[in-house]
């Protein structure tokens, strides 16, 4: 199944692979011709007592034949690699495309180390699978047949030896091979797991040190690595046993043929040149099978990796979520025209994480009129972030509807919609690259002046310019040396640079100290002016500026109104504000 799908995945790759096999077959033809000519020469000199000059024509044919065979070998290698490259390229392209379609909900849920392993190492494993295993597999069907026919012509009796040992070996190969598959799958899982585990340990070294546990992990790594080694050895041992049987079958067949034709030579049943040719060709009959056996674990590993890759590719994007347009009516014609008014409505929206296991929103309704700023307040885990995720279409509601100016959000092309949204997340991901690169994420064509202006507005400029290489300083993994406030200021700078009409601030000011918060407040006021905004706030200052405050509790909007009217109502909001005033500012 997987094998066929893989072979047919890319037609060009399949074609190139076929050509590689043809080249291998032609090389085998050369081998037959070489064996025959060699036998003729030896026969003429040894039996017929001819001299060098008598056999010189044969030797002169042998010379170009050797060159021709080498050429076929070379083109076989190159063609097989081309085939593998094409296949890997198209798989990678589809994988990276599909990951975006699956969206953050999928990549967060999966172990990202394992995902990376499947996408990078998993695809790489297919290289050897194609160049080594598939060519060997296809050649193992053709070349022995050729040798068999030749031997049949030269000496029909010897084909009995081949007929007896050949299929026996094929049978043994199939028997042992089937058990290799399961273990290879386990090996691949273990490799993925080992990578994820090692990465986790390396990333968490500082934490392990905090608790004085970093050194004892040496033993854990030793134990896991040893187990990984023994699993791999288990796979290989089976492969070695297959090779042992095949090798023994092939060598003992050579010995049998030598003895059999030796005895028949004595009785004069066979002439010497034919006998020698048959002897030389006997190992060649088994060679493709033996080579296939050696590649068996590459084959099993490739199949296991392919299954993992296809599992990702076959995961249907949860209704929407990524770059794919919505299902249903909007699927064929997603709206690409920008929505001019950001009048947003949530009507009885429900959502639960983990396939409905963890409810986050229940019958949640919200109205964000165009040009207004709505603040969501509530305890941690009340569902505020889920509202932002739904609006960004990282997740799709399980029930209810979200509309923008009356148009269902699901009918708008996600990219078109997101181009109108600036998002300041809790924890921005900082990418491999410089500070400037990371800010330009929001607007790749931004000039240096625009980048600096945005950084200045977000008060990120101050700390960036103090760095040794300013905006060209590379950001370390996860921005390790940046404080939470600095990371968030970068996220705010990105929002400034993007300059979109709708803004989502997700706890944007929670990490900032008093000083920056004051400065950023001005900046945010400017940013918010003339825009529609959803603010997930923890600070009173942001709440004061909001046109409406919505209190979220356990996935419901429990209270809504202006700051003042809510205060008068009492209830949850009053408690929240009391603690903000007592604890905040």
């Amino acid at each position: 199944m997987t094998e066929k799908r893989l072979l047919r995945y890319n037609r060009l790759a399949h074609g190139l692979l076929s050509l590689a096999v043809v080249a291998g077959f032609l090389a085998a033809l050369c081998v037959v011709a070489q064996a025959w000519l060699l036998s003729v020469v030896v026969n003429r000199v040894f039996i017929l007592r001819q001299t060098l000059t008598d056999v010189l024509p044969f030797l002169f044919v042998l010379l170009p034949l050797a060159v021709l065979r080498a050429l076929f070998v070379w083109s076989g290698d190159v063609l097989a690699q081309r085939a593998a490259s094409r296949l890997k390229g198209s798989l990678r392209q589809d994988l990276t495309h599909h990951l975006f379609a699956l969206g953050p909900a999928y990549t967060r849920g999966e172990h990202s180390g394992e995902l990376v392993n499947a996408v990078v190492e998993g695809v790489e494993v297919l290289d050897e699978y194609f160049t080594a295993y598939q060519t060997a597999r296809l050649l193992a069907r053709l070349a022995p047949l050729l040798i068999f026919v030749v031997v049949l012509v030269l000496d029909p009796l010897t084909t009995l030896v081949l007929l007896f040992t050949g299929p026996l070996l094929v049978l043994l190969l199939a028997l042992i091979g089937s058990s290799v598959k399961d273990i290879a799958q386990r090996r691949f899982q273990e490799l993925s797991w080992m990578s994820a585990y090692f990465l986790d340990m390396l990333q968490g070294l500082a934490t392990l040190k905090l608790f004085g546990r970093s050194r004892e992990k040496i033993e854990t790594i030793r134990a896991i690595s040893t187990r990984y080694g023994s699993t791999t050895l288990e796979v290989l041992r089976t492969a070695f046993q297959t090779a042992l049987v095949l090798e023994w079958g092939s060598t003992i067949a050579t010995a049998l043929v030598a003895v059999e034709i030796g005895l028949r030579l004595i009785s004069g049943d066979i002439v010497f040149d034919r006998a020698l040719a048959v002897l030389i060709l006997t190992p060649e009959f088994f060679l493709p099978l033996r080579q296939l056996a050696l590649k068996y674990h590459a084959g099993a590993a490739g199949r296991a990796a392919a299954e993992r890759v296809f599992t990702i590719l076959d995961t249907a994007p949860a209704p929407v979520g990524g770059t794919q347009p919505a299902q249903g009516r909007g699927y064929d014609h997603p709206r690409r025209a920008p929505v001019t008014r950001s009048d947003i409505r949530f009507e009885r929206v429900s959502f639960a994480y983990d396939n409905g296991q963890r409810p986050a929103l229940r019958d949640f309704s919200l109205h964000i009129p165009h040009g207004q700023k709505i603040a969501l307040v509530g305890a941690t885990g009340a569902g505020k972030t889920t509202v932002a995720n739904l609006l960004l279409r990282f997740i799709e509601p399980n029930g209810g509807s979200i509309t923008i100016a009356g148009i269902p959000l699901s009918e708008i092309d996600p990219a078109t919609w997101r181009s109108q949204v600036a998002w300041v997340p809790q924890r921005p991901h900082l990418f491999y690259g410089t500070f400037a690169d990371n800010l330009r994420l929001a607007k790749p064509q931004a000039t240096q002046a625009e980048v600096v202006a945005a950084a200045k507005a977000a008060h990120a400029h101050e700390f960036i310019q103090h760095l040794a290489r300013g905006y060209d300083t590379p950001i370390g993994e996860q921005g390790a040396r940046l404080s939470g406030g600095q990371q968030q200021r970068l996220a705010i700078a990105r929002a400034f640079l993007k300059d979109a009409p709708f803004l989502i601030l997700d706890e944007a000011t929670s990490h900032l100290d008093a000083e920056s918060e004051g400065l950023i407040q001005d900046a945010l006021d400017r940013l918010l002016r003339g825009r529609t905004a959803l603010i997930i706030a923890h600070r009173l200052k942001l709440i004061y500026t909001a046109d409406q405050v919505v209190v979220v509790q356990a996935g419901h909007a429990v209270q809504a109104g202006t700051h003042r009217s809510l205060l008068e109502q009492g209830g949850v909001y009053q408690q929240l504000v009391a603690s903000y005033e007592g604890g905040g500012r």
Binding site: L38, V42, V45, I47, T51, L59, R69, V73, D77, V78, S85, K88, F100, G103, P104, R108, G109, H111, S112, V116, V120, S195, L199, G204, L205, A206, L210, F211, R215, I218, G229, L236, F240, L244, E247, T251, I252, A255, V257, A258, I261, L265, F272, L276, I280, G322, G381, T385, R418, H429, E477, S483, G485, R489, S510, H511, D513, H538, S579, G583
Partner: protein, 601 residues
């Protein structure tokens, strides 16, 4: 020392395994040469229509060689791979052990995606170093000697011709390939590492990429790198193809030349005709030994590149060096020991009524927890913390992160450090934790310089709730137990209760056994911080440091948290890094920092 020498030194403990693999390899190929030579002799002799009895020895030997060949091959493969996996484990442990002292200070400049490639993939690349680089050349040399001795017995010119073609295949060809393959091998590893980092970014930063509509741009980058990788791989395949083709060509030419030279000798009577078939077949069989050599050198390049990267990474001098002898004064050792009696007391007290504990109300749990943790603080150790005119910068080119910081936090008191982002608050914690070392000024703990203690001993005294929490891809319980491997389930529950996390966990379908995903991605910011707090409580250290520990919590939760922590903080030295007034209400002194200086204390 060269990379090659260091790699060889690394496997020095495995030299007997390697020797075994070499001999088995040689004997297996030798058996194959013997099989072909004897078979050819057998039928040639038979062609002379001799008596069957004259062939008896040859017949037996042919069968023996056939069987020996297969068995030797199996043993060789089995033992060399066993050795390889042992070496691999040895390498992984060696690498981790080397990298452990470098964290986190020296690792910041690397990306963990890159580290993954380095540690896992590079170490596995070294697998080839032992199987395909070291063993084949030595075994090949032995086979060449054997084959040349056989041919030389008939005529020196035959041995000479064979040795020429064998060395062309085994030495000249690999060296040429090495020269041609040098660049692609390095490029291959670099391209793979970069593609890997890009894919890590794609998977971990997917939300950001989508929100900024950069999916297409990023995808284009990934595909460009993927194409680059393919290009390098096809370049390598071109070389590999040439190498394989020339090996085949030289084998054919060797057989042809030997035959060509032998024919006049047979005609001239120097060699018996019965041996004519033996000679080219022996030559062909001996090529099995030199065939893997072309690949061996290519693998050597890859191994050296991988080895170089590993060595480069671990050769960085650790940021923090431990003193040869740790100050074993009151501060360093008394306190960690004190945790044991405390834990014992806790178990003793609850041993009898352990069944009832689960049914007890939360307030009872809290009481148990606080009373047992309270024990520790009573140990009469002087844990006064003092900074005296400390200057520090992360990198010689960076500006000063701390510019003459001085303050004292008396044992048992509480202090808050406040200041803007980047003012140096977190640096103070990094220095206290000895993740970095200060070079100017002095930090003292219990009157002794921090440098006098082993870093581990200092850390044992500090319970830290860091700003960026790392959570391991394991269950909640495993992540909590990290702080105290001996903690009982009841202790874990009590700590979570104090950290205001128990209710959340209890509400999960799997409770404490819930897996939290890679770096705890399934938890919210507030949950992560409370988990970190629960860890600090479980650690039960005499000094508590809260580094922006409540930044992701809403005001109500935060206030509740501090109230709930009151009993835990009692009699402990507490350092709070925060700007919230909530926090400031609970402290004895406020130290305000700005641009690496204390502006009020």
């Amino acid at each position: 020392m060269s990379t090659l020498a260091r790699l060889l030194k690394l496997i020095a403990p495995f030299k007997w395994w390697v020797t075994l693999a070499v001999w088995l390899n040689f004997l297996a190929i030798g058996a194959s040469v013997g099989l072909m030579a004897l078979s050819a002799y057998l039928i040639s002799k038979a062609a002379l229509m001799v008596n069957v009895s004259e062939l008896a020895l040859a017949i037996t030997s042919v069968r023996l060689f056939a069987t020996l060949r297969a068995i030797l091959r199996y043993l060789e493969r089995y033992f060399s791979h066993t050795a390889t996996f042992r070496i691999l484990t040895h390498l992984r442990v060696w690498f981790y052990r080397a990298i452990e002292p470098l964290a986190p200070a020296r690792l910041m400049q690397y990306r963990s995606g890159d580290l993954l490639t380095r540690s896992v993939a590079d170490i596995e690349t070294l697998e080839n170093f032992y199987i395909r680089v070291i063993v084949p050349p030595i075994a090949a040399a032995l086979v060449v000697v054997l084959a040349c001795l056989i041919l030389g017995a008939f005529d020196g010119s035959l041995a000479l011709a064979l040795s020429v073609f064998l060395s062309l295949t085994g030495v000249a060809l690999p060296l040429t390939m090495r020269w041609l393959g040098k660049r692609p091998a390095g490029q291959l590893i670099a391209a793979r590492a970069e593609l890997n980092a890009m894919l890590v970014d794609e998977i971990q930063g997917l939300a950001d990429l989508l929100a900024f509509d950069q999916a297409d741009a990023h995808r284009a980058k990934v595909l460009r790198l993927s194409d680059e990788l393919q290009r390098v791989q096809e370049q390598q395949a071109l070389l590999r193809g040439v190498s394989n083709a020339l090996t085949v060509l030289f084998t054919s030419l060797a057989a042809l030349t030997v035959l060509w030279l032998a024919i006049p000798l047979v005609s001239g009577g120097q060699i018996e005709g019965v041996y004519l078939a033996v000679l080219p077949l022996t030559a062909i069989a001996s090529f099995e030994a030199v065939q893997p050599l072309a690949l061996a050198l290519q693998q050597l390049e890859a191994s050296q590149a991988a080895g170089r990267r590993l060595f480069e990474l671990i050769d960085a001098a650790p940021e923090v060096c431990d003193p040869t002898e740790s100050a074993s004064l009151r501060g360093a050792h008394a306190a960690p020991r004190a945790t044991r009696p405390a834990a014992k007391t806790w178990r003793e007290r609850n041993g009898v009524e352990s069944k009832r504990v689960t049914k007890q109300s939360h307030s009872r749990l809290e009481e148990i927890a606080s009373s047992s943790y309270g024990l520790l603080a009573k140990t009469d150790t002087d844990l006064t913390l003092a900074f005296k005119d400390v200057h520090f910068r992360y990198h010689p080119n960076d500006p000063l992160a701390l510019d003459g910081v001085s303050f004292t936090i008396p044992a048992g008191s509480r202090a808050a450090i406040v200041g803007a982002s980047g003012s140096g608050k977190s640096t103070i914690v990094n220095l206290l934790l000895r993740f970095w070392d200060y070079h100017e000024g002095q930090i003292t703990l219990g009157g002794r310089d921090l440098h006098d203690y082993r870093a581990d001993d200092v850390r044992a005294l500090l319970g830290v709730v860091p700003q960026n929490v790392h959570l391991f891809n394991a269950t909640l319980r495993d992540n909590l137990r990290l702080a105290n491997p001996d903690a009982t389930d009841e202790q874990i529950k009590a700590a979570c209760h104090q950290a205001q996390l128990h209710e959340f966990i209890a509400g999960l379908p799997l409770g404490y056994d819930t897996p939290i995903g890679e770096n705890g991605l399934l938890l919210s910011g507030g949950e992560r911080q409370r988990l970190a707090l629960a860890r600090a409580i479980l650690k039960n250290a005499p000094i508590l440091i809260l580094d922006e520990a409540t930044a992701n919590l809403d005001a109500i939760t935060e206030e509740q948290l501090f109230r709930s922590l009151e009993s835990f903080m009692a009699d402990r030295t507490v350092l709070i890094i925060s700007h919230h007034r909530v926090a400031l209400e609970h402290v004895d002194q406020v130290i305000e920092v700005e641009q690496g200086r204390v502006i009020s204390g």
